[in-house]
């Protein structure tokens, strides 16, 4: 099948996307003059604020660059499609946003990202800038051990909590603690109904039989827990919620934030039908939804599918998720 994508030279997609992005959202962001892979908030560096740096491979938009702006991330470091950025832009981002209070790297737990961001942090350390890292590990089915799990759409809540803490004047340790707390209380799981198309090859990343779905698939198309025929939305959500709630039990009276996330090609109709079931399940358990998002927040280009993210909240996390922010893809008044 021919790829149904609107691009020019596939080797230029990331550069052209970034160019388009800073043109479209020029009130919010700029690209670093000395590094085309670092998108920085127009407000950064913010005086007396810990620098919040997010990043990872391209192909998950609005992750990561879409969340750069006031009250959210100060910079995003942008890799090639599905590929971690290299160390230099990770380092350049620090140089661009550090305001003397140090910086935090926040990204999904992938080996490639860890290697590159760690090298960036080493370079910053050589300049005497302290950089801490919190890896997002929300994908419940990707490993038994929490620290080995992948980061998927839970990024949004973890980044938001940390960024709000920074915006409220927290120091680097406090910002790190906020990110760790949000991550410890966040679980996600997804289902894919098709593969994304890789611009460079013009082909799906992986083969999937027509009519199949894969429960638990990662946002780069990493295999999940079970492949089978596409099922009704409610049945799919029931399975996802079983996994999430087995991993992070919730009790009556608990409060949560929920993100029902499109992986790209799944329309808002379907997402809201899915959200309905999530909400019914939580309602039955007496769990209160404090805040809900439904839409494309952490995608895999044109992949059909969705994920559910649940973050268990305490008063601090509620405050952090409610904290105002203004970015091209998330604004809270």
């Amino acid at each position: 099948m021919t790829m149904k994508r609107l691009i020019n030279d596939p080797y230029d997609v990331v550069e052209e996307m970034i160019d388009g992005y800073v043109r479209a959202h020029k009130d919010y962001v700029k690209v670093l003059e000395n590094d085309g892979r670092v998108v920085v908030s127009k407000k950064a560096p913010v005086k007396d604020k810990v620098g919040v740096i997010i990043g990872g491979g391209s192909g998950h938009e609005p992750l990561f660059l879409g969340y750069v702006g006031e009250g959210f991330a100060d910079a995003a470091v942008i890799g090639n499609i599905n590929t971690s950025p290299s160390p230099e832009p990770c380092y350049n981002a620090v140089k661009a946003v550090d305001a003397g209070k140090g910086c935090i790297y926040l990204y999904g737990n992938y080996a490639g990202d860890v290697m590159n961001f760690d090298m960036g942090a080493e370079m910053a350390a050589a300049d005497g800038i302290r950089v801490e890292t919190v890896l997002v590990t929300d994908d419940v089915v990707s490993s038994e051990n929490i620290e080995d799990r992948r980061g998927v759409a839970g990024d949004v809540f973890v980044f938001k909590a940390a960024a709000a803490k920074a915006d409220l004047g927290g120091d680097l340790d406090e910002v790190k603690a906020a990110a760790e707390k949000a991550n410890a209380n966040t679980r996600s799981m997804g289902v894919a109904l098709s593969s994304a198309t890789l611009p460079a090859t013009g082909k799906p990343i992986f083969e999937m039989e027509d009519g199949d779905m894969e429960i638990g698939m990662g946002i780069h198309g990493e295999p999940g827990v079970r492949r089978g025929k596409i099922e009704p939305a409610d049945k799919v959500i029931d399975q996802i919620m079983d996994h999430i709630l087995a991993d992070m039990p919730l009790e009556s009276g608990d409060e949560v934030a929920v993100l029902v996330n499109s992986l790209g090609a799944t329309p808002l109709i379907d997402l809201h039908i899915c959200y309905r079931r999530v909400d019914q399940i939580l309602e039955e358990k007496g769990v209160k939804v404090h805040r809900a998002y439904v839409g494309p927040f952490a995608t895999s280009m044109d992949m059909a599918g969705m994920s559910v993210t649940i973050t268990k909240l305490d008063d601090e996390l509620k405050q952090l998720l409610d904290h105002p922010c203004d970015t091209p893809y998330l604004t809270i008044k």
Partner: protein
């Protein structure tokens, strides 16, 4: 050992030129391997990296071998990202150091180039043999090379041992469960698939072999 077996800059430049061709020709093959147990971009990553090398090759060819390979390594490191970027980046950044700023190396130095390069991949990725990574091709390859040199084989024959062991090492990843990289989360589902990085490493070594005088 092989004191008169001198490898000059032309040899290395020819190898790099062949690697540039390899990265394009095998792009979809490496990517296909990565689709099965990773995220389907290993071939694309290499082609992005070597396209950058190609763009600068004429310019960089004027440098001594140490500088030349540092620039190749930095290009891979900075343009690729992911796992392949830092791993192969380290490999090439280190690779030229035993040449000590010269334009040619003898066979002993040639051996040392691979030694420091493979070690830097091990240091960067912290992987050991049996974890289903490029180390499964490179470490046994290097060991076989070393042994062949100790046993007094002629230079090209000795390097042939590197090539053969690297290829065998790449094949040896097929039945393995992965312990490093993206494939590590697949558990048993990774079994039956060759590791893309081990495959590209073995192909790199083969390219070095093919150009040996």
């Amino acid at each position: 050992m092989g004191q008169d077996y001198v490898l000059n800059k032309d040899y290395f430049i020819d190898v790099i030129k062949d690697l540039i061709v390899l990265a394009e020709e095998k792009r979809d093959y490496f990517t296909g391997l990565d689709s099965a147990i990773g995220d389907g971009d290993h071939g694309i990553n290499l082609s992005i990296g070597f396209r950058e090398v190609e763009k600068n090759l004429e310019e960089w060819a004027k440098e001594d071998l140490t500088t030349f390979f540092r620039k190749v390594g930095m290009a891979l490191l900075s343009k690729v990202g992911g796992s392949a970027g830092p791993l192969y980046g380290s490999f090439f950044m280190k690779f030229g150091t035993p040449a000590n700023g010269k334009d040619e190396v003898n066979f002993q130095e040639f051996y040392e180039m691979f030694k420091v390069a493979v070690e830097s991949i091990e240091a960067r990725g912290k992987a050991v043999v049996g974890e289903k990574t490029m180390v499964d091709a490179l470490r046994p390859g290097l060991d076989a090379f070393e042994k062949a040199i100790e046993e007094g084989l002629a230079p090209k024959e000795a390097f042939n041992k590197f090539k053969e062991a690297a290829n065998e090492g790449a094949d040896s990843t097929i039945p393995l469960v992965a312990k490093k990289g993206r494939a590590m989360r697949l558990g048993e589902r990774a079994v039956g698939h060759k590791d893309p990085g081990a495959a590209s490493s073995a192909a790199f070594i083969e390219t070095f072999y093919n150009k040996l005088p």
